[in-house]
Structure formats: structure tokens, C-alpha cells
Amino acid sequence: MFGAITNKVKGINSIRSKEVIKWMVDNAILLVLLFLLLTIIVISPDFVSLNNLRNILSQASTRIIIALGIGGLIITQGTDLSAGRMVGLAAVISASLLQDPEYAYRMYPNLPHLYFWGPILFVAVITGILGLINGFIISILKVTPFIATLGTMIIVYGINSTYFDRPPYGAQPIGGLDEEFMRFAQGYFNLGGFKLPYIVIYAAIVTFFIWLIWNKTKFGKNIFAVGGNPEAAVVSGVNLTMTLMLVYMMAGILYGFAGALEAARVGTATNNTGNMYELDAIAACVVGGVSFTGGVGTVRGVVIGVLIFQVINYGLAFIGVNPYLQYIIKGLIIIMAVAIDTRKYIKKK
């Protein structure tokens, strides 16, 4: 479809219309999404409300953290299917360690009351190690990222389910979470009527840190070099193996933090928490301009990608679109985003 458009453009002599069409092709995905958003607003004008904004922001927060992890490794020409399952593992473990001591169905009935930061760090270390294992499989065993993380996705789900389905109560959703832990995620600042969730602040802090790493550190530059031209990077003395290992580890740590936040935000966790989150995150990255050919991507793009996706998600549900139809729309958006992205890199023969 776009091939036909660009070919037609060749016939038009006016430079301006050429540029306009080029801009439209380059930004086609944003235009489509904007159109979707406008449709939603036209159908249901009360979609535009502070309350909806708050909901969208707080739902987007954990997703931004996950997407920033995945974004980094997509830049290195990688991908990560295990992200959602790692989020689930982190959610279950952190929830199991942070149940209210008064709650009747605790997984560890005799566990003393823990301050919530401890378990959060603990799960981040666990998923960090799992991320490192992903990095090891990819950079040292040379398994392609898709297959490597497909394997770890299944393994992590197995580990999580084994942990989850254990005595004394078996496979029960882990609820009755510690008040402080839940307030950590569900609390908000009251800004003259607008309730700004804490969780949004955390996402903002993580975003800032990742921005620093991507743009201001040696490690960040190496990520882009490895993704843009691995051979040139190696010849210039960049340690390819180390860079890949670290990028997957960093992603793992982010999944762990996101998982704990997700448990606290929802107030409960099961072995299916986080299921398919990786697909949303990958889709958001792609929509936000992170290229699967490697070497290209910005923090701003990832954040915008997640927000747009969340707005559409929330908006479609808000105007009562059939959930099955929502899947179809989302799938189409992803395919279109990649098809358009690819056009920029096709070599003409």
C-alpha cells in the first residue's frame, strides 16, 4: 500500500507535496492513532476527564518500566519474551513475603512483618539474575534472542507456578497484602482535585534513570553501537558480550521492580500476573519508534508509545468496543507500525 504511495510520489514534481507525503509516511502510525483517539472522543466526549487521565497514567506506569527494559534490548537487535513471566514471578514472590500478619491465609504463617523495600529489592535481584541468564544464553551460547527468551519464558512460568502452588493453601491468589506496601503503589498526592498516583512518580524516576543511562553513559553508547553495527563496535574495542549481558540484566531488574509494583497496585498476585505484558511492551516500543533492525530508539519514544497504547486500550474499553475486536485492532496497529518502520530501511534495487 505504501509502496504504491511512494511510487506515485515520484511522479509528482512539487517538492513540497513530496515532503508532506514523506512526513505522513514517516509518521503514519501516529496519524492513525490520533485518528483512533479522535474517533473515541467523538463517540464519547466525556472520555476527556481528569479521572480517566489518572487511570491511564497509573496503568501505564508499570508498563513504561517494563517497556524501557525491553526497549534497551530491542536496540541491540534483541527481544525478550520472558518479560511478562518475570513480572509475574516478581509479583508472586513479593506478595508472598508481604502479606499482612493478621491475614488468615498467609503463605508463610510465621513470617514476621517485613518492611516492603526488602522484598522489592529481593525480587529485583532475582529477576536481575534471570535477565543475566538470558544475556548469557544469547551472548555466550549464541542462541537467537527470540528462542532464548521463549525458553526462559516457559521456564520462569514453571518456576513461578511451582512456587505459587504450594502448601498450606495450594494455588490461591496471594491476597491480604500489607497496607504500607499497597499504599506505596496505590497512594496519591492530592493536587487541588487531581489525584497524582505515587506510582506515576516512580515511573518518572525510572524513566529519568534510563534516559541518563542511554544517553550519558559509556554503557548507553555501547548499547546503540552494538545494535547499530556490531562489527564496527567490536573493531572499536567495545565488549559485545558484556554489553549484551548487562542490557538483559538491566531489563530483568526493571521487570522485578515492575512486578512488585503490579502486585501492590492490584492488591493481589497469581502465577498468571504479567501474562503477555511483554507483547504490549514490545508493541509500545515499536510504535514509539524503536527499530527491530537495531541501533535506533529513544526513551521519549518508548514512553509515548506506551501512553498511546494505553490511551487506545482504555479508550476502546471506555466506549464499549467488544474486547475481542480490541485484540484485532491492537494486532493491526502492531503490524502496521513495523511495516511502516521497515520502509525507512529498505534498500532500493
Binding site: L212, K216, T217, K218, K221, F224, A225, G228, N229, E231, A232, A233, V235, S236, G237, V238, G295, V296, K348, K349
Partner: protein
């Protein structure tokens, strides 16, 4: 060998002494020497395949020389990687520029050794240092500009600046002007002179005689992996260089030519490719039983002619006529149906299916023949045809089920030739058919090509090896910078004439 160890350090910056390198079946370098003085431009010349790149690869440790010694700055060295050479002040500006295109200029220059301030990168220092080098070399580029937005000549300047940033004392430039305009060449020469005046030794690899005579102080000529001469540039002329480059005998390397050209089979008129840079206004004709060679320098777009005829590359204008019938050849499938066949240059990446067997590799271009009404493969016919390929091309293989990648290059090429003959083409296009094949097997391939011409096929053959063209073809079309510089009769031409033609549109 005499034991005189008094190296006069001041005269030579780099001395490569009696370097030899042998690959299975080929002596790529035979006792070659190269001596570069500081503050000079030293041109390294020779035909395609003379051993220039192999010699450079030995310098950079990409290949390990079988024997010989390298002295750099008075010390004996033996680099094990490009990176190590770079750290020691020997760098290379490649023909294919190796850059992270998505990043900006200074990110590329300091890649792998970014200056740090605490935890973060010191962008300011990077910017200033880059700016300083640019000023020294009179390069007007913004260090923060993205590399993919630069022109080829600008990218090259960035590469040179990178070499300078490593404080390189020797900079090798491989065909640096192959895609530059005249103005850009002049700027490049200005930069080269600035480097030379700072005492840097420059090894300048190029085919362009006028340029060599203009920029270099000394010239070393290689031929067939051997050192031929090193002379001051001011004692040389284009004619002397050419005769040094080509002077050799051609006895018994080629089978007897028995084919007799007949009626015209293929006519190509004003063929121009859709996307530049590529071929422009290419016209020629081909006769039955004729072998037409295509000569030209690397980058002269010889392959593009075949690709455009075969429908791999999009055509902007031009006419193709086979057996008097006008054809479109919009894609390879259509071209095959119209009686064309093409053996590609990169056998490994676009020729063989390496992990599959000879049977599969033989029948793959002719699949339609093996499926009847049932749409199930006719195994007997496959086997019969593969047997024909193996027998008629005399492929040496234990069985049809042998993986093709376990055969020698020559035998792989025979299978590919056989594959295309199964499609019963009228016109067979061969791109560097003897590349990477050892000398003995080359003879067999030549014989096969001549036999095919005897059977009335029209054959087009691209080659970078001049003797091969002279020894096998009937006429030679010389390409220069995407255009036809001339079509010459092989019997009446000389290597010197072809050389001159191939530089016609540079």
C-alpha cells in the same frame, strides 16, 4: 640470510619484508616487500587479485603471514587484530565504511574509548577534541551531525579523522576516491597533504593512474602476488605503470577456443536502472555460441547489468530482445521462463544452499519440471537430472546426497552451472565464475564454458581477471562508472587498451 641488524629507523616508518602467504591451492603472496617512509604518500598498485588486499590484511593481522617480517617505527611487530594495529598507530580507511550510521559523528570517532567524567560521558571533551581534529584537517562538519545524513565523502573524512584521533602514523586508504566527485577528491587530497606534512605515512591503494601520479611520492606495483617494482612517482608515467601491472605470459592456462559465434540471440538497448548509482544507457548484442566478457574496475557496476537483465534490479528504461522477441523480465522467474540464467558472484551467499545436498542444489531452479498432475515431487526425475548434472559437468562427489558445502569451490560451481543448464537457457550470464576456485579447477570451468558456447548458448561472463577475459572470450565489453566505455574484439585488443577504457568515465 645475512645478519645485518642495523635498521635505519629514520628512513622507513614501515617495512614489510619478504611476506608470503599461501591459501590452499593459491600462492596469494610470494616474497612481497613494501617500504613506506614517514611523511610520504606511497601508492600500492596492481590488478584486481594482485594481492594488495591480502598484503594489507597481513599487516593488520586479519591474516597471519606464512613467513616474512614487519617492522614499524623501528620495532618488529606482528599485530593480531585490527584493533591492536589501531592502538599502535596503524589504521585503515576502508572502501566499505564501517560506521554506526544511526549515531552522530563524535560518537563514531570515540567509539570504544569514550572520555568519562565520573559516571557519565564527557560530551564536551568529545566535542572539543573532535572539533580540534576537524580544524587541523580543515573538515567543515558538525561533530553532532548524524552519520547517516552524511555523503560518502564526508563519511570518509570522518573515518580519516578517526584514524588521526588514534594518533596513527600509518594510514591505509583503500580506493578512497572510488565514489567521490572531482571537487571532493581535491578536498581529500588537501587532507592527505596535511597529514603527510605532519609526518604520517600514507599507503594509498587505487586504480586511477592520474590520481596516483598526482598525489603519491612513491609507487609499488604488485602482480600475481609478487612484488614487481617500487619507484619514485616522478619517474613514472601511466604507460610505465600499466606495463608493470600487466606484463606476463599466458601459456596453457586456457583451453583451446573452438566455439564459433552465429546469429544474434540477444539485443540490449539503452538499459538504465531505476535507482542510482547504477548502469546508464547500456547497449550491446550477443550472438549464439559467443562468449562476451564484461571487464571493469570494482564499482563500475558490471554486476548491475546482469541483475537488471535478470529482473533482480528494477529497470527505468531500455529494451531487451531475445531471439527477436521483446521481453520484460520483471523478476527472475519471468527471466528464467524467457530463457535466461544467471550464476551469481557470491557463490556462498547467493549461489549454493550450503546445508542441503547436491540433488536439491541441482534441481532448485527448475522445480516446475518435477511436479506432475499429482503435485507431488517426481523423485526419479530429480535423481535422473541430478545424475546428468554430476556426469556432464564432471562433478567429483561421492553421491547425490552429499552436502554441497563439503565439495570444493570448483565442484560447487559446476553444480551451479548444471543447475542452470537444466532450465535450458539460451543466454547464460556468469558473474565471476572462477572466483575462489583454484587454478586447476579454473581450467575445467573454462572448458565447460567453451563447450556450452559450442552448443549454441550465448554466454556473458563478468571477470576481474584480465587474462581470463583475454583467454576465454570472443569480445569484451568494458564498463566504466556505470556506462559502456567500449566493446572490443578480444583477438585485436590488449590489456592496456582495456585498462584505459575502464578509466574512461572516472
Amino acid at each position: 640470510m645475512q645478519n645485518i641488524k642495523v635498521e635505519s629507523n629514520s628512513t622507513y616508518l614501515l617495512r614489510m619484508k619478504s611476506i608470503s602467504k599461501e591459501f590452499p591451492g593459491v600462492k596469494a603472496l610470494d616474497n612481497v616487500q613494501l617500504e613506506v617512509r614517514p611523511g610520504t604518500v606511497h601508492a600500492l598498485m596492481g590488478e584486481n587479485g594482485a594481492g594488495k588486499s591480502t598484503l594489507m590484511k597481513c599487516l593488520f593481522g586479519i591474516y597471519h603471514a606464512d613467513c616474512g617480517e614487519i617492522y614499524f617505527d623501528g620495532k618488529k611487530v606482528s599485530f593480531t587484530s585490527t584493533r591492536q594495529a589501531l592502538d599502535n598507530g596503524v589504521s585503515m580507511v576502508h572502501q566499505e565504511l564501517n560506521q554506526v550510521r544511526q549515531r552522530n559523528i563524535m560518537d563514531n570517532i570515540w567509539l570504544g574509548r569514550y572520555p568519562n567524567k565520573f559516571l557519565f560521558i564527557d560530551e564536551e571533551k568529545m566535542y572539543k577534541d573532535t572539533k580540534k581534529i576537524f580544524e587541523e584537517l580543515d573538515i567543515q562538519l558538525d561533530p553532532k551531525a548524524k552519520v547517516e545524513k552524511l555523503s560518502v565523502s564526508e563519511m570518509q573524512m570522518v573515518e580519516i579523522a578517526k584514524a588521526v584521533s588514534y594518533n596513527s602514523k600509518i594510514i591505509v586508504m583503500d580506493e578512497p576516491t572510488s565514489s567521490l566527485t572531482e571537487k571532493e577528491v581535491n578536498h581529500l587530497f588537501k587532507i592527505i597533504r596535511a597529514l603527510r606534512d605532519k609526518g604520517v605515512g600514507i599507503i594509498y591503494i587505487s586504480h586511477k593512474m592520474e590520481e596516483i601520479l598526482q598525489i603519491s611520492d612513491e609507487v609499488t606495483v604488485m602482480r600475481d602476488g609478487k612484488w614487481i617494482a617500487t619507484k619514485p612517482a616522478n619517474e613514472l608515467t601511466t604507460d610505465i605503470i600499466i606495463s608493470l601491472m600487466v606484463g606476463r605470459d599466458l601459456t596453457n592456462r586456457f583451453p583451446e577456443k573452438t566455439n564459433v559465434p552465429g546469429d544474434t540471440i540477444l539485443k540490449v538497448e539503452s538499459l538504465t536502472a531505476a535507482y542510482k548509482p547504477s548502469i546508464e544507457e547500456v547497449s550491446f548484442d550477443l550472438r549464439k555460441g559467443e562468449i562476451l566478457g564484461i571487464a571493469g574496475l570494482v564499482g563500475s557496476k558490471r554486476t548491475d547489468i546482469l541483475e537488471t537483465i535478470f529482473g533482480v534490479r528494477q529497470r527505468k528504461s531500455g529494451k531487451i530482445e531475445i531471439n527477436g522477441k521483446k521481453v520484460k523480465n520483471r523478476d527472475p522467474k519471468e527471466a528464467i521462463k524467457n530463457g535466461f540464467a544467471m550464476v551469481t558472484e557470491e557463490r556462498r551467499s547467493t549461489g549454493i544452499f550450503g546445508i542441503l545436498d547436491i540433488n536439491f542444489n541441482s534441481i532448485i531452479a527448475n522445480l516446475d519440471d518435477y511436479f506432475g498432475m499429482t503435485q507431488l515431487v517426481n523423485e526419479d526425475k530429480c535423481e535422473k537430472d541430478t545424475k546428468w548434472v554430476v556426469d556432464s559437468m564432471s562433478v567429483k562427489t561421492p553421491s547425490q546426497k552429499t552436502k554441497i558445502s563439503s565439495l570444493s569451490g570448483g565442484n560447487q560451481q559446476k553444480v551451479i552451472l548444471g543447475r542452470w543448464l537444466l532450465t535450458e537457457p539460451d543466454v547464460l550470464m556468469l558473474d565471476e565464475p572462477t572466483r575462489g576456485i583454484d587454478v586447476g579447477a579454473k581450467y575445467e570451468i573454462y572448458q565447460l564454458i567453451i563447450n556450452l558456447a559450442n552448443r549454441g548458448k550465448g554466454i556473458i561472463m563478468i571477470s576481474s581477471e584480465m587474462p581470463e577475459l583475454i583467454g576465454v572470450t570472443d569480445r569484451i565489453l568494458v564498463m566504466s562508472n556505470g556506462r559502456v566505455a567500449g566493446i572490443v574484439d578480444t583477438k585485436a585488443t590488449t590489456q592496456e587498451e582495456i585498462m584505459r577504457l575502464s578509466a574512461k568515465f572516472l
